[in-house]
């Protein structure tokens, strides 16, 4: 079945990059502090520890440069009256499918980095867990949440009328 998936706005790439930078800076800072303690505390470490540290820095830089490009290219979502599908990932691609009929709650979340770029995350809750659509423009997120909310309401009314019948 061929579905017409939608892609994210270009702002999502910058948002992913900024999140990646912050995450890697925190990681390198922690490792740097540990290394500094060892250096100033005269703790002797084998020579290959510095080599590993250099490799980690290189990997972090590569991740900051390339990971957002790949993740942005791969991130797709699809919504219709029946289903909600999200495809995302870097090394491992995950495709999550949830029937709209199983969704019982819709929420919009905006983190501090999302707010800087005017982006939001739509969280669709089913009884078996959440399905998230991330890095959506605020207006699009509001539209999706409203449409899903109307659709859920229609489904509940249909189910209640079936039960009463």
């Amino acid at each position: 079945m061929n579905l017409e998936y939608k892609c994210l706005n270009k702002k999502a790439k910058s948002c992913m990059r900024l999140s990646s930078i912050i995450g890697n800076v925190i990681l390198l800072t922690i490792l740097g502090i540990i290394r500094a303690f060892c250096y100033f505390g005269d703790v002797l470490l084998p020579g290959w520890v510095d080599l590993i540290f250099a490799i980690i820095i290189l990997l972090c830089v590569l991740q900051i440069i390339f990971a957002p490009i790949i993740r942005y290219k791969r991130y797709k979502y699809y919504i219709d009256d029946e289903r909600l599908v999200v495809i995302e990932g870097l090394w491992f691609i995950t495709k999550t499918t949830a029937p709209i009929e199983r969704v019982h709650q819709i929420a919009i979340e905006r983190g501090p980095i999302d707010r800087m770029y005017g982006l939001s995350k739509v969280v669709a809750t089913t009884a078996g867990g959440n399905v998230d659509i991330k890095f959506l423009e605020n207006q699009i997120a509001e539209e999706i949440a409203e449409n899903l909310g109307i659709r859920i309401g229609t489904i509940v009314k249909e189910q209640r009328s079936d039960q009463n019948a």
Partner: protein
């Protein structure tokens, strides 16, 4: 139904549960004081102070629980269950009887002395799926009256008239329903279940810890004993819960009986704490067939039932409906109680190409241990661990299975233990598939499906299978509307 309170014994039980350690300290203080008195001396100030302090704490908790008990009323009004509390903060919890998914009776040793029962109610809700929603202690007549009233309401047989608890003979109602016995397990079969369902990995871990502790003790000198003894004791303490759980399994499953009454099954077992689960089959989300490692050698398996809303203690997460039996016996039991979950066909095994990503995943972990042990200790230990990990990968590959039926699917996973879950598509909430560069090239993926359940059973992983299987699962979930 008139408003009732829980039995007074619940006050003592709640107090004891909350502060059993303080009560224990209080008892030790009394013993110290008695020792002093025996030696014809006045107990020391610290002992007296401790006695007074602990007694005060116990009395505060007791009075708090007493007031709570006095101000709490429970009753059923038309089709709702109501729990009213009028302490400093007032609350009124109202639950529709139709949303109660399970009604269970439990009686531990203490409750047997006073002839009371704990009635456990679970609501059909994912919000409270990980805990029992109501635990109420009543005398036997009231407990059975509540249970029978709720069950008969769920059966749709209740009239609109109020029923006086004193007028109901609990035994006469149970006699009217007359459950059909399905299977019961003898002393020998319960022992067999306890021995063969002993956790294999837990046993290896416990044995390893004990051996390591003994070797460390005998190979170190006396000065090192002071340093390593606390570490050894901590490790041994970590083993105690595992040993306790394994040894008390017999007490838990003693006199196991499975019965069916209409569209409900009743499971009862326990020596000191007798548990009776009443499980409505229309609220069953999935059935699980489990084969512990030792049981696989004898081709035995046992069954668990996943019922929405069940879940407080670990053993209640998914109650067992059948102890270890042969697979064909278990399938015949499933045919009697829930034929929609029967497995008619053989499962599809993972394709041979799935071995590669599985061995890579396990091999990477093994390599990490090999490198670590080679650098810091002995390389051959790392090599043994790598071999064990690769063996786990092979076992993991061999265990995986998947079968897609018209209205349901069954998924088998595991490494040493084998677990098969059967659920209808209408009970599945969402599905996901995942592939990396290697599995994508091979045309396979692995994934998960989620059901409404407590956390332990909510997300169920699927091994490596062709991508088309996961597309079919998603399509089937969408085409099957959920059953409320």
């Amino acid at each position: 139904m008139p408003k009732v309170r829980c039995h007074f014994i619940s006050v003592i039980m709640s107090t004891f549960k909350a502060i059993w350690y303080i009560i224990a300290l209080f008892v030790f203080q009394i013993l110290d004081a008695l020792k002093d008195i025996k030696m014809q001396s006045i107990p020391s100030k610290s002992v007296l102070f401790g006695l007074v302090a602990f007694f005060a704490v116990i009395m505060i908790f007791f009075v708090f629980n007493l007031l709570r008990w006095w101000k709490t009323k429970i009753y059923i009004e038309s089709d709702t269950f109501i729990l009213e509390r009028n302490q400093l903060s007032q609350s009124k919890t109202t639950v529709k009887l139709s949303s109660i998914s399970t009604v269970n009776l439990q009686q531990n040793l203490f409750e047997k002395i006073f002839d009371v029962y704990t009635i456990q109610l679970d609501i059909n809700s994912s919000v409270t799926a990980n805990k029992t929603d109501f635990n109420l202690v009543f005398d036997d007549k009231t407990a059975f009256a509540f249970r029978d009233y709720i069950l008969s309401y769920l059966d749709g047989k209740t009239s609109n008239e109020d029923i006086e608890t004193e007028q109901i003979s609990a035994h006469s109602i149970r006699q009217k329903i007359k459950p059909e016995p399905i299977i019961s397990f003898s002393f020998k079969e319960v022992i067999r279940h306890c021995i063969l369902s002993f956790s294999f990995v837990g046993g290896i871990y416990a044995t390893g810890v004990v051996i390591a502790a003994i070797c460390a003790f005998f190979t170190s000198d006396k000065e090192m004993h002071r340093v390593i003894m606390p570490a050894i004791l901590s490790l041994l303490i970590a083993v105690v819960p595992f040993l306790y759980k394994s040894l008390t399994a017999f007490l838990l499953y003693h006199n196991f009986i499975l019965e069916k009454s209409g569209d409900k099954i009743m499971v009862s077992y326990g020596l000191f704490t007798r548990k009776q689960f009443t499980l409505p089959l229309d609220k069953t989300n999935a059935l699980v067939i489990k084969q512990p490692f030792q049981a696989r050698l004898f081709n035995l398996c046992y069954g668990e039932i996943i019922n929405v809303g069940m879940g407080d203690a670990a053993e209640n997460q998914a109650p067992i409906f059948c102890l270890l039996v042969k697979p064909d016996v278990l399938q015949s039991i499933i045919k009697q109680i829930a034929p929609q979950f029967i497995l008619e066909e053989k499962e599809e095994k993972s394709p041979k190409s799935a071995m590669l990503p599985i061995l890579i995943k396990w091999g990477l972990w093994g390599m990490a241990f090999l490198i670590g042990f080679s650098v810091f200790y002995k390389w051959w230990i790392g090599l043994i661990i790598l071999t064990v990990f690769l063996l786990c990968g092979i076992l993991s590959y061999g265990t995986k299975g998947l079968k897609l039926y018209e209205n349901k699917l069954s998924i088998t996973t595991g490494v040493f233990d084998k677990r098969t879950i059967t659920a209808s598509y209408s009970k599945l909430q969402n599905a996901s598939s995942k592939y990396g560069p290697i599995s994508r090239h091979l045309g396979i993926a692995h994934g998960t499906v989620s059901i409404l359940s407590s956390i332990a059973n909510q997300t169920n992983s699927i091994g490596y299978f062709p991508l088309e299987r996961f597309d079919k699962i998603s399509q089937q979930i969408i085409s099957h509307d959920s059953i409320k």
